[in-house]
Assembly symmetry: C2
Homo-oligomer: 518 residues x 2
């Protein structure tokens, strides 16, 4: 495997799984050429006039779809850790004796550790998508036959749209669907809210299979997935465990340190002038993020300020803000709790978005860059604000990128991080894996202080008289090293063995993940 | 121009406007090859981070879009006869000195007779789209530089999707839009309901310009047109005359003959057993169609029957049925009156559809074939049930195809026609222009009787004891000829000069329209 140094100074392979790669060239430096992929032209003559595309089971659908060795099969992750469809799918593929599948999920969860045996026996050749928890550990140890490829949600859409990843068969688990293939996630026993992560798959895959446990008469509305893109519909007994698909409730952190971080961020938005009428922000579903939303809500109410839109990951906290008139809209990329699902189903101002609208960098703009403020996490940040979100300081690949890279394009990007975890510093001199360039990261908020990227002179000026603990990042870095007894140990990795690559939002390779030596 | 005989026995050119054509091969006989067109890949690096794509005016947008001689410019017809944007657009193109534009509207209206001067002076080379009224007469007289190409709404989507028609610049008039280009037709001073006819244009054109007279802050919802497909946004003083865009009210026919036809159709659906719980039908906005809907509604109420869905062109009559619980859904392709617009905006069960969902024959099925009954018109029908909808017996091309060809795929297709117009028989021995093959047309309903296609033995059997005047088509044909004093005179046309071609839903050429000799 030949490695070259990219524009970030990181070594990356030039060919991965037999596909030529473009090394990262810098933010907004790589310009795509050519045209989007077009899926095969079909004819209504080959589809039933009555619109009934139901076939007996997944096996029959896969046979009709022409499943063969070496194909690419995609799935989405809206069922999260409750997903049983993906495991059933690969049990079926295994039973058919098919080998060397490239699995292309929009993300994977611990429930998919069921698939490790198929990675071991050659049913699955490799995964392109997040490799969380057990699958990440498996990959880190060099046990996967091919090389993992990690993309952001937007990068996944981009790769499919641009024809970098050709999906042979997409399998879309749908909480409600009709026999024509129209499908929605906002209702049904396994309701998950929306199905945006399957949008690219439905548009660009050669064959599309919808699996549902709630088949309704045509038309299923809203048609988040359009039946006109669907080849076969399959009824399955259940999509999965509803309690693991969406939480009954999402919980605000109880950690005093994290509550402090959340409060700092809310106050920072206020004192910097970002929080003003018509502003917008994005916050996810982690405990710190939820706490931030709660603090911000109180500040907004106190000052009589209304947002134009909030981007979720929606939760009951964002839904409350919508229902109390603190925002005109929620533009939602995934629903994390039952209140989010209900609101999306009932409230026309709770809008269903997709990686196409929100994140695709090879589009005519996207929503992410319009956000006034975005609050994200990270596993590591270096003193130049470069950040890591996929691996830990011990070198293990344990998280996906999600929408994280895409969100960095927001007007003010804030990383909410504890200054150390398990006595290992989170602010480091060099990140284990580079996932986000420091030039796009504006503010680091820890329980020990707030560091503003020196590039953001406007922000530094805006908060110069603030009572908030604004500090140089180097100062926080030194303090943490003293508390933790020094920098983290360098990971024990084999720098000759790349187990996964990290794509940037434009499809170039920003960094490599190496095999961990146990 | 070389002409060959196609599978319907019609002479059609093999090359039109320099593009090779496939002669019609029969219903469901032509199978497309290859992949859909993919528009150029763009990068967010070339679009404003803040999402503001507003430019000064249409001229500036056209310059930025790279307008050149010979390009293809598309427009939609949701503004109908109130449209001022298309005329403003071509005034601008003319003022820029650009020549030989292929105009690719989804339909044209009498208001567009303004463009005849641009057809004469070479600004516009030819029209691909319906050529209603004055433009049709101009074309029929052989005055257009190129050859007209008429497609159904579904055929237009198919042609763009398949790359047969490459749109350089799409100009989308939008009753409401935001600076990012998200647009909707369901609100604003020029509200027209929906914008489905511009969907293909927004997805596949190289450059997309949205023109609006109601710019709102991001996000404009619902985003019927997605800003992620839009390059530039332009504010214009007005999109047009609202009273000509949608009617205040739509009017049921007062003609006793047409009321009789409408009543016959409603009774036919009842007596044939088509009208039953969960059934579906489509009816347009013509006076006869509206009367049919009124009769059918009364029958449904009387018998306690509820439809699953109705397809519109929506009007207050369909909206009443939705609101009175006589149907679960309206699946709407265009709104014809203000009640239709209101209902679409307010009622989540009044659903916005597009030629992609409803009509595209090169898709994985479409909605049209699922309809239990479809009521359409025609200018001529022959005794083999072949029908014409674009020209009159005098040879003049005066109407577009609209969704007519696509709707023929419904389970039972009914043509509602007066038996003669201006003492010219409508049932003929041979149609002037073949637009729909008789094998897809099931029932002809005139004021003198109902003719059922002999292929539909099931229907003949179902109504064998009916009191309705079921008659062989030949018998009605003979009776009309006697009343009118014989068959219509053959049109005086030059069979060597094709002024327009008629495409079938699969992109093949089903017939030619010839130059009329005055």
């Amino acid at each position: 495997m030949k490695l070259v140094k990219n524009a970030a100074g990181r070594l990356v392979p030039t060919v991965v799984n037999g596909v030529k790669q473009v090394p990262y060239k810098g933010v907004a430096k790589y310009k795509p050429k050519g045209n989007k992929y077009g899926s095969p032209i079909r004819s209504c003559a080959d589809y039933p006039d009555d619109g009934n595309k139901v076939v007996k089971n997944i096996r029959e659908a896969l046979i009709k779809a022409g499943l063969k060795d070496g194909m690419t099969i995609s799935t989405h992750h809206h069922l999260r850790n409750g997903d049983v469809v993906t495991n059933l799918l690969f049990d079926t593929i295994k039973s058919m004796g098919i080998k060397n599948i490239r699995w292309f999920p929009s993300a994977s969860f611990p429930v998919h550790s069921h698939l490790i045996k198929y990675l071991e026996d050659g049913t699955i050749h490799h995964i392109e998508g997040s490799m969380n928890g057990p699958l990440g550990r498996f990959t880190s140890l060099g046990k996967m036959k091919g090389t993992g490829v990690l993309r952001s949600h937007g990068g996944r859409y981009q790769a499919v749209q641009d024809g970098e990843v050709h999906i042979d068969i997409a399998v879309i688990a749908a909480p409600t669907a009709d026999p024509f293939g129209n499908a929605t996630g906002d209702r049904g026993p396994a309701a998950c809210g929306l199905l945006g992560f399957a949008l690219a798959d439905s548009q660009y895959a050669d064959r599309v299979i919808v699996a549902t446990d709630n088949l309704v008469p045509f038309p299923c509305t809203p048609w988040q997935i359009q039946g006109n893109n669907v080849d076969y519909v399959v009824e399955v007994p259940t999509l999965g465990d509803p309690s693991k698909i969406v939480s009954g409730t999402t919980q605000v952190t109880k950690s005093p340190d994290r509550l402090l971080i959340a409060e700092y961020i809310a106050r920072f938005l206020d004192e910097s002038g970002i929080m003003k009428d018509g502003f917008s922000f994005q916050a996810g579903a982690g405990g710190t993020n939820l706490a931030f939303a709660v603090y911000l809500k109180e500040l907004m109410k106190k000052k009589g300020i209304k947002a134009r839109f909030i981007r979720g990951g929606s939760t009951k906290y964002l839904v409350e803000m919508l229902e109390e008139g603190l925002t005109d809209y929620i533009l939602d990329g995934q629903t994390f709790d039952l209140e989010g699902v209900r609101s999306m189903r009932e409230n026309p101002n709770h809008i269903n978005t997709s990686p196409f609208t929100s994140y695709n960098y090879h589009g005519k703009g996207n929503f992410a860059s319009m956000l006034d403020a975005v609050v994200l996490g990270a596993t590591e940040v270096d003193i130049n604000f470069n950040a890591n979100v996929v691996s830990h300081s011990d070198g293990y690949l344990l998280h996906g990128i999600g929408g994280w890279q895409n969100c960095l394009f927001g007007k003010t990007t804030i990383l909410a991080i504890p200054s150390f975890r398990d006595r290992i510093p989170v602010i480091v001199d060099e990140v284990t894996t580079l996932v986000g360039p420091g030039e796009l990261i504006d503010v680091i908020v820890t329980e020990r202080g707030i560091a503003i990227n020196p590039k953001r002179k406007d922000l530094l000026k805006a908060v110069r008289n603030s009572s908030l603990p604004i500090r140089p990042i180097e100062e926080i870095y030194e303090e943490i090293n003293q508390i933790c007894g020094g920098k983290p140990a360098k990971p024990k990795v084999n720098k000759k063995k790349v187990v996964a690559i990290i794509k940037w939002v434009d499809g170039t390779v920003i960094d490599s993940v190496y095999q961990v030596e146990e």
